[in-house]
């Protein structure tokens, strides 16, 4: 449990981060909390020559309302999401998911941008970002570009980030009245990744579902956007029949990797169970 030798950098401004990234290229890894990276380094699965710690870059922090969106700095910690009044008021789902990530110690260090950028299908934010229709701001030597959450995740540990780019901000539309959301996560114990989890955002008007987005955690090489499952709910009441139908459609897109948490059949079945659970909770959360 001792990492290979590495050089540590702690820049204080974003341009310095970009400069270091272009200087060291593949040799460098960004440290954005470190609760995925450092264990991999200690096990010597990862051995970056340079660690660029983003902790001191002030412009990567903070939560604000801009127009109809919430803008969240990529280095905002999970606990800052949990304790944020703006998040509680506008995007309670974000605090709900953060509370289900790991344990309090991890949540004081782990960041939303780190969780997303790592590209691990077991992380919880990716599916939630898809369900909330988030957009990510990626900054590199050539300036900023915007990428939708649904287009960001390319494969296991593989994202739209190009070498030299850093995720700087997450932008999430503030839901309209009548929206309810939830994140249902099945895990073996505190601190574990999900066996399966589902993020759901729905909007009810006059008893019928008018908008729906569903995404799944840890049942494929990336978080999965369950478009068909969500579409099946539109124009209908959310009841036992439509919930079961949506869960079945969500299960149809699962391709989980077997491990000690379960085989393919179990994880797929649990994805369905979590969709059902999240939908029922989302209906209860509508406001």
């Amino acid at each position: 449990m001792i990492p290979s030798p590495f050089e540590y950098h702690a820049p204080t401004a974003l341009p310095d981060v970009i400069a270091l990234l272009s200087q060291y290229g593949d040799e460098a890894k960004l440290l954005a909390g470190g609760h995925s990276l450092l264990p991999m380094m200690k096990l010597r699965f990862a051995a970056p020559g340079h660690l660029i710690d983003l902790r001191k870059v002030a412009e990567l922090k903070g939560i604000s309302v801009v127009g109809s969106q919430l803008h969240i700095g990529a280095m905002t910690t999970e606990n800052e999401l949990i304790f944020s009044k703006l998040v509680a008021e506008h995007l309670p789902l974000l605090a709900e998911v953060a509370r289900q990530i790991a344990d309090p110690q991890v949540r004081y260090k782990g960041t939303i941008g780190g969780d997303i950028s790592h590209g691990d299908p077991g992380n919880d934010h990716p599916a939630v970002m898809m369900a909330m229709d988030a957009t990510f701001v990626l900054t590199g030597a050539n300036g900023e570009r915007l990428v939708k959450a649904t287009e960001f995740f390319h494969g296991m540990y593989d994202t739209a980030l190009t070498p030299g780019e850093v995720m700087t901000q997450i932008r999430i539309p503030i839901p309209a009245a009548g929206t309810g959301s939830s994140y249902a996560k099945l895990k073996r114990k505190t601190g574990d990744y999900a066996t399966a989890a589902a993020a759901v955002v729905i909007r009810l008007q006059a008893g019928l579902c008018t908008q729906a987005r569903i995404a799944l955690t840890n049942v494929g090489p990336t978080a999965l956007f369950a478009g068909d499952a969500a579409a099946s709910l539109i124009g209908k009441p959310i009841d036992d029949v439509t919930i079961t139908q949506a869960a079945n459609l969500a299960m149809a897109i699962c391709e989980p990797a077997p491990d000690l948490r379960g085989d393919e059949a179990y994880k797929t079945a649990m994805a369905g169970q979590m969709v059902e659970r999240a939908l029922r909770l989302a209906v209860a959360h509508v406001k």
Partner: protein, 800 residues
Amino acid sequence: MDQNVENHERLEKLEGIGCSRKRREDPRFIQGKGNYVDDIKLPGMLFAVMVRSPYAHAKIKSIDTTKAKAHPGVHAVLTADDLKPLKLHWMPTLAGDVQAVLADGYVSFQNQEVAFVVADDRYVAADAAELVEVDYEELPVVVDPFKALLPDAPVIRPDLDGKNVGAHGARKHHNHIFNWQIGDKDKTDRAFSDAEVTVAQDMHYPRVHPCPLETCGSVASYDAIRGDLTVWITSQAPHVVRTVVGLLSSIPESKIRIISPDIGGGFGNKVGVYPGYVCAIVASIVLGRPVKWIESRSENLTTTAFARDYWMSGELAADKSGKIKALRVNVTADHGAFDACADPTKWPAGMFHVCTGSYDIPNAHVSVDGVYTNKFPGGVSYRCSFRVTEAVYLVERMIDVLAQKLNIDKAEIRKRNFIKYEQFPYLTPLGLEFDSGNYMPALEKVLEAVDYNALRAEQAQKRADPTCPTLMGIGITTFTEIVGAGPSKSCDILGIGMFDSCEIRVHPDGSAIARMGTISQGQGHQTTYAQIIASESGIAASQIAVEEGDTSTAPYGLGTYGSRSTPVAGAAVARASRKIREKARKIAAHLLEVSPDDLEFDLDQFKVKGDPAKAKTMKEIAWAAYNNVPDGMEMGLEAVDYYDPPNFTFPFGAYLCVVDVHKKTGETKVRRFYALDDCGTRINPMIIEGQIHGGLTEGFAVAMGQELPYDEQGNVLGGTLMDYFLPTSMETPHWETDFTVTPSPHHPIGAKGVAESPHVGSIPCFSNAMVDAFAHLGTTHFNMPYNSYRVWQHAKSLGL
């Protein structure tokens, strides 16, 4: 002052037996001021790491240490070839086998010790370990003990080629270790032939690990000038370690000092001697500098002392009323690549023969076969006395299987079979004498406390409702433990009887120091031993310093495991205290100019019978012991006691558990757990409750999640805390505790030991509850651990 008030104040000041005294250990631990092995820092100390095999079974064609030795900061790289001239490349195990210290030409489990790299610090050592080049030739792997016994199974131990007799008798196959039998086979077989009803059930108790918070490690420091070896070590038995080190190194025990400082939990994992300890000692002798070796978490979980891995087949014969006539048990015990079980020498399956439990079973026979596989060695008792968890699991599961077969209530069938109060002392068909017990009131108290009938009614209602999303299960166990190993006539380790010891010295000011051969790993010995001394000798507990763990100061003892500290060392403490008291009586008589027979002991003083104004306190007597003793008496006030127990002690309990199992996800909620324990005389009720909470939590962990599974290639899966289940406060159920008191008739203060009962008793209770949840669907058993995945698979197999 009112006499009663004064007496009460004196009693409170004494803090003796029965007082919930706060733990004296806690202030240093909760302030981070403990002193663990990894806190030891010596001038010039080096750090070592192990190079381990990635393969479960392979021939080692060559080891090239050139690059590692050339790495800056590296002082030595040891391999088996370096240990051979010292004859230290193999070492004896506690089970009469040998174990490779560093792999001698082949490896037989994944992560086996291959080379030992010693460097300036742990960072350099870790880098250099990667530079050791080992050329392996992979061999076929066997991780299943049944496959290991097939005729053409790979040979796991070529070093044993041609040895048809092992430490415990004949070996019938190249991977067979021993067959051990106890009980009357013919009578038992006859009882089965004649029986109205028989049931049989196979069950696997999975390979688990005690996983103490502190991993194993040591600091060895050899002083070449003085010829002294000092070793700080994570050991539950420092004196035994000293004897082993003396045997291995030929250094006299008088020149060896073993120190167990603060120990961060043991649970059986820290009983044995591990290759890292031996290598650190050799490296220190060779290099003339102190050498520290500390395991990582994964090394701890995958190399040092697993527990269990018993494949058990149980059978019960009974009449139609459920009265049991016979028990028959066959066990295939997977011991891994070396037989390193920690059991008393004569007992290769430990105290497994306590498996007739709390029940009056006239006939029984047990047969256990030990088998080698390509898995890491161990077979220690994880928070239990030797193999007792397995034994209790078997009988508590079997009686439920019988109850289901006969459609008798699971509480009722226990009542019909209990050993009755008037039958004690009770000789079991497997040769144990249960000293005391009173099972019926314990069970009835529990059933009443939880309103058992209402729970069964609720369960019936839920079973009748197909829309109910959960299954409700009720588990009961009424277990008997066997602890306090043990009488030297039947128990020894390496030929040393399993006594324990206490030495007390009372200082002139009336304060005292007491030293024992045991070592606390969290049990609170500093607190409870002082309470025994307080009650027995009249010295206030707050005035007593308790020391353990340093072989140069403490009297020889066999250590702390198997709940033996209170039954064995605790008895020595009481008896040494009584020796102090009797000498004090004579001094008091001398001071008061009366006969010793005219005095009576009263809490903290001796007073003259009929003239209570004439009295001498222990404080006054202690002062006099150093300046004014009767003619012919030696000065000083000291006592030593070595206690060889006449029998084991037999704590018991009645537990009840209620679970709600989600049919569609397998998630299980432990709704209620009620634990009644009878550990005899209760020394510190608060510590007892803490021990019970800890044992129940570890039992919950074992039943609901812990296992170390292997794949076919012999890779150990789940060797990190991501997969290995250590419950946090979030997962842990709420515990309700209760007690009865049935003192041990042969223990000086009637105490029996308690720390392990909740582990031993709770695991079958969880199993019984889980099986009970599915019992109406025909389930008689399914194996632990009951994680959601496994429970879901079981539900699915029943069509739920």
